[in-house]
């Protein structure tokens, strides 16, 4: 039987309980939505509560297929009422934590209350599954790389670490939770968005450290043969598709080869210009540096991953600099700030990982700061200096730490690319309008994974079928985020019906794909929207910033011209 851990920071206690039967067939994003709505329904959480107050709960949970051999089933989801958006938040991450949580027999860890003594602690789960809170005062304001080193020294290499850096401890609203990668333990996988690290910080929880158990938990199947047959077919299909998957072959940086050419790549704070030098940040340059300096790509961030999109990036001296170096980071610190120095952007990525802060918020915030005249366009050293101020909590650093909107408001900027207070990611919504619809309507805020429609609508910059594409993808991503990694899911689609066999083989019941599409997809999306409505969100929150509607993209001449009527029917299921 699965278990859950209840961590009470007010009393510094940890309690192990059987996992809730009603949540058994939920995981990841679907579980987060249902759990937080249940808190509201049972009166344990006022949906309008202060996200940094004692009512808010920080949840870590696995996907619904955790513990099985289905590829990428070991994602970890972090859930809460978001300190950044004020709405529901599920921040998904790869890394080793999901695997070790499942091997320990835990599907969910919930962290409640606020510490009464102001002390910093970490949660440690040992080889035998015993869990306790441990004093972490010696780790105060340590960067995440130092935290991992300290934990490795104490417990060896067979661990996973999820931790906050100085940003989380300083309660910055853009603070992330960094998750260690499988194998290397680099804290470069990230539950990045929505300020989840700030909530961990106010709870006085520096880290969750899980040791590889002596005896791994064994999953109970309703029909193991059915599950294994479906998993075998799906895994083989995904492995085959991965051979021509750009994320497998190059990493997510490959996206720039498309967005750079068609005006979707954000340039100079979403000015809509083309960036002619985008190839300086492209695949050829990236792979060349990996090969010349001893870095690598095709790395799995979790055991059993067949996509293997991760990488290790070394500096010019061949020394490790960063890993999990992604398109969003490169696009937003890069052309969005008119910076085309890949090494400098890698330094920014490393700093953000170490400080524990979302690179999407930081890249957009720096673009806004440059647009407002705080820094010159292209001033990479200025960005690095500002990130250091954020680490130290001095100067402009705390404002930057609160993200893009905070920076824009502080500088009196008119062009602030956020929705629901969360920064837009590396796609200009005028030139991929379905993505713009997703940014506007996604309950998570302007999200980089919620439904990027680029290449999936008839004409990215046109209006036809954009709402349809966004709707279908938003539902699909909801159930993907509840089961597996999005990048594996994108290769599953032709055999999606087999996901029903996985659910039936694992949990019993009918082989019915609507258990996935409706149960984990539509219902999750609607539950998230209902939570947000109770938290005070209105239709006014489902809108893009005005400048995307009025300023033409210089690259294509397009504005975001999806009218409100098209948006209104988006969630009429």
């Amino acid at each position: 039987m699965w278990s859950k851990l209840i961590v009470n920071m007010a009393e510094a206690t940890v309690t192990k309980l059987p996992y809730d039967e009603e949540y058994l067939q939920l995981g990841g994003r679907a579980l987060v939505a249902n759990y937080f709505m249940d808190l509201v329904k049972t009166g344990k959480m006022d949906p309008k509560c202060d996200p940094m107050g004692e009512q808010n709960v920080l949840m870590f949970c696995t996907g619904v297929l955790a513990g099985t051999n289905f590829t990428t089933s070991y994602r970890i989801s972090v859930g809460c009422k978001s300190p950044l958006t004020g709405g529901i938040k599920e921040a998904s991450s790869g890394g080793y934590m999901g695997k070790l949580m499942a091997d320990q027999g835990y599907r969910m860890i919930t962290v409640h209350g606020l510490p009464q003594d102001g002390k910093l602690r970490y949660l440690h789960i040992d080889k035998e599954g015993n869990a306790e809170l441990v004093d972490a005062e010696d780790l105060r304001l340590k960067g995440t790389y130092d935290v991992v080193d300290a934990m490795r020294e104490r417990y060896g290499d067979g661990i996973s670490v999820a931790c906050i850096g100085p940003a989380g401890e300083r309660l910055y609203k853009a603070a992330s939770i960094q998750i260690s990668e499988f194998g290397t333990l680099h804290p470069s996988r990230v539950a990045a968005r929505g300020g989840v690290g700030a909530l961990m910080g106010v709870k006085g929880l520096k880290a969750v450290v899980i040791e590889k158990p002596t005896i791994p938990y064994k999953v109970e199947y309703a029909d193991e043969a059915m599950f294994r047959e479906a998993a075998k077919e799906l895994n083989a299909f995904i492995a085959g598709a991965a051979k021509v998957d750009p994320f497998h072959n190059f990493g997510t940086i490959s996206t720039i080869e498309k967005t750079g050419a068609n005006g979707i790549l954000p340039v100079e704070n979403f000015s809509g210009k083309l960036y002619k030098d985008y190839k300086k940040l492209g695949v050829e340059e990236f792979l060349g540096r990996l090969a010349a300096r001893g870095g690598c790509n095709k790395k799995p961030c979790q055991p059993g991953c067949l996509v293997q999109c991760s990488n290790v990036y070394h500096d010019a001296d061949g020394k490790y600099l960063t890993s999990g170096f992604e398109y969003e980071t490169i696009a937003l610190f890069g052309p969005n700030c008119r910076i085309d120095d890949l090494d400098k952007i890698a330094v920014m990525d490393r700093m953000c990982d170490d400080i524990g802060v979302d690179t999407i918020e930081m890249g957009t915030a720096c673009g806004v700061a440059m647009d407002a005249g705080k820094l010159e366009w292209g001033d990479a050293d200025g960005v690095i200096a500002m990130l250091e101020e954020m680490r130290q909590g001095v100067g402009f650093g705390p404002t930057l730490g609160d993200g893009c909107e905070a920076v824009g408001l502080a500088l009196g900027a008119k062009r602030i690319p956020t929705v629901k207070h969360q920064a837009i990611s590396g796609y200009d919504p005028r030139n991929t309008k379905g993505t713009g619809i997703t940014y506007a309507t996604c309950p998570q805020g302007a999200d980089h994974t919620a439904a990027l429609t680029m290449g999936r609508a008839f004409d990215d910059a046109g209006r036809t079928a954009q709402a349809y594409a966004s709707n279908k993808l938003q539902v699909a991503i909801c159930f993907s985020d509840s089961m597996m990694c999005l990048f594996a899911f994108s290769n599953v689609v032709p055999k999606m019906h087999l996901l029903a066999n996985l659910m039936s083989g694992l949990y019993g019941g009918p082989v019915d794909i609507t258990r996935v599409t409706i149960g984990l997809g539509v219902k999750t999306l609607l539950t998230e929207r209902a939570f947000n409505k109770l938290a005070g969100f209105t239709d006014e929150d489902d809108k893009l910033p005005e400048f995307f509607l009025t300023e033409r993209s210089a690259a294509t001449g397009a504005v975001f011209d999806i009218n409100p009527v098209e948006m209104e029917v988006l969630f009429d299921f």
């Binding site: 051979k243 021509v244 994320f247 190059f250 490959s254 080869e257 792979l287 398109y327 990027l452």
Partner: protein
């Protein structure tokens, strides 16, 4: 024999990468990255890259994400 995205094609002496990509059903317009035996080949080098018998070509369409 040459493979393009794991489909077999006859090898001819003097054949270039561009020759095989032109004959293949793979759409190389737009954002497509091509590797030869695992190494990325720049678009401007398609016409000067000679193929050898047994080479494996991948034409990889770029998608969004990251």
């Amino acid at each position: 024999m040459i493979t393009v995205n794991e489909r077999n094609y006859d090898f001819r002496s003097g054949m270039t990468l561009l020759d095989i990509l032109k004959t293949d059903a793979v759409d190389i317009h737009g954002a497509v990255l091509v590797t030869l035996n695992g190494s990325l080949i720049s678009k401007e080098k398609y016409n000067e890259t000679l193929l050898n018998d047994g080479d494996a070509v991948l034409a990889i369409k770029v998608v969004s994400g990251g």
